[in-house]
Amino acid sequence: MSGTRTALFIVIGVLILASAPFWTSQAIVFLIGLTLIDAVFALSWNLLFGFTGLTTFGHAAFFAVGAYATALALRMHAPIHFLVLLAGVALLGAVLSVLVGMVVLRRAAGIALAILTMALGEILHIIIGYSVALGREDGMSGIPRPKLNLFVTNLNLASGNNYYWFLCIVCALVAGALCWLTFGRVGRVLRSIQQDPERTAFLGVNVARYRLLSFTIAGAIAALAGGLYTPWVQTITPDLADTFRSAQPMLNALLGGAQSFWGPVVGTALFALVNFSTRTLAGLSELVVGIVLLLVILIAPTGVMGLLGKLRKKRTEAPAAEPSAPAAPRNSSAPMASADAKLAPVKEGGQ
């Protein structure tokens, strides 16, 4: 896959998303915005699961920390530049995850790690639920959207679709940065740790330090996603930290394909579609999502992206002289998914 083609697909995808307010209703734009944030959140979790080999069940805790920190700052009308605030939130997430990771990663692995992170998330959930300053079970509402001082002009994110476009840009930048990281040197070390920690250690890599690094980056990005979420929905509740929220990125990543970088994005888009089309009946969306996930794990553990990769491989192998056979995007109803599906570097046979 050539670099220019990848860039082309990214440009097309961003254009389709950025133009959403012109061709669809306000409610759908709102859902697309939520999906964008969820996609970044899922990408951050998949850095741990798909590329480092750490299964955590409490990732929502970092998201919630970011969301609540932003809410507090915006509520108090703190005189901070919004970009600085977002950076601060990410830093807060990073510091927290370093602290948590130093203790947790040293002592636990496998199932113990999963349960430990789940318990930590649940502790945060309960603490938020009892904290008066954070609005207890009712959460915080009426959070204002900030103004963005761009030196040349003052952009009011509260008016019109400004915040949506801001969201598009930031999410794209974060995803791009994560992509760069994953395919760069650090990402390669992480993947080798995922495949065989012992051998990687033998090659002179400090496995514990790289795991902690991965944990920190994932925590920081999850907190950043939380920070983006708050001004978008303007109402937050302690549910943000609960276990179902932690499960969301897992479901997204697995459906899309945890072995592929863009898999979680595809999965998030598909889940958003399922949720949207089953929104009327309580329990139905859970049932459908659960069944879909089971089928994915049983039939195609590499997710949608893995399936696409297999299809593409078959196609390119049959007419050997045709190297640029395009893989048909299965999910053309999700603009983001179809744009990204083609540029995904799919790794085969990961289980």
């Binding site: 318990a119 479901l251 089971l294 049983l298 289980q351």
Partner: protein
């Protein structure tokens, strides 16, 4: 304080009923079944659909609970054949997430079938009263009954696993399934048996504990988390450990409710996190069905 301790023992026994199946399946199959709490809840709903809100006689109540156990056991067979069996040789993480998917299926299905309302169910007439130890301490008969069930189930399981022929075979499979297979033991059948037993326990517990805490869609999750804590603290796959840990947990929970009434539910997680960091292998070590 004494009341808190007695109450805690009853809570602990209730948690153990759920934790037993969870730890049993882990001991043999090495699967952490996230859906266990929801199958427990389905057992409760099945029992509720049959007897309604008023349990008329103790015998019916026990029979219905057994029936609920049987229904859930059938679900266990289906689950084993459709899901668990296929994922036996796949990475642990996928199995974990598959059971999480099962959790969602079970949760969604029970919401569709039984709705979102919560119900409270009265215990059978024989357990309606209680007895008082002194002027201030009153023990509801039903709490004593729950504690009794917990102890009985524990003793039965313990004897089966440690003293019986089947239990010995199960231990050998848990210890080294390949070798057990070489020696002519039908490992897949045994695995299915273990799953069915665990699911039966979940359904039975659902029916028996029905009057204990009522019925709502949130029921599964609260029990699941508590059972997880008990299983982890007791050592994964360790029935004795799970029993001791469940009792400890019930005690911690109800004592902390007296000492720290402002933050119910928090202490248990703090204890678990501290414990996991101190002894990740659990109180009695990890093992195949001990």
């Amino acid at each position: 304080m004494l009341f808190a301790i007695l109450n805690g023992l009853s809570t602990g026994a209730a948690v153990f009923l759920v934790a037993a199946g969870l730890t049993f399946v882990f001991g043999i199959l090495r699967v952490m079944n996230f859906a266990h709490g929801h199958f427990f809840m389905i057992g409760a709903y099945v029992a509720f659909s049959i007897i309604g809100q008023h349990t008329d006689s103790t015998l019916n109540y026990v029979l219905v609970s057994l029936l609920a156990g049987a229904v859930v056991a059938v679900l266990g067979v289906i689950t084993d054949f459709t899901v668990l069996r296929r994922l036996r040789n796949v990475d642990h993480a996928y199995m974990m997430i598959a059971t999480f998917a099962l959790l969602m299926v079970a949760s969604g299905a029970s919401k569709l079938i039984w709705g979102l309302d919560s119900y409270s169910i009265s215990p059978p007439p024989a357990f309606e009263g209680g007895f008082s130890l002194s002027d201030t301490i009153f023990i509801p008969a039903f709490s004593a009954f729950v504690f009794g069930i917990g102890v009985v189930v524990f003793l039965v399981l313990d004897v089966v696993i440690h003293r019986s022929w089947v239990g010995k075979i199960m231990q050998s499979v848990a210890h080294d399934s390949w070798m057990a297979g070489q020696l002519g033991i039908n490992v897949p059948v045994l695995y299915t048996g273990a799953v069915v037993l665990a699911f039966f326990l979940a359904g039975l517990a659902g029916g028996l504990l029905l009057p204990n805490q009522g019925l709502s869609p949130g029921l599964a999750f609260s029990y699941l988390l508590h059972a997880f804590v008990a299983v982890i603290i007791g050592g994964l796959g360790n029935i004795r450990g799970a029993f001791v840990a469940s009792m400890l947990m019930g005690l911690i929970e109800s004592i902390s409710l007296v000492l720290l009434p402002n933050v119910p539910g928090l202490t248990i997680y703090v204890v678990m996190v501290g414990f996991l960091l101190w002894r990740p292998q659990g109180l009695f070590g990890q093992g195949g069905a001990h």
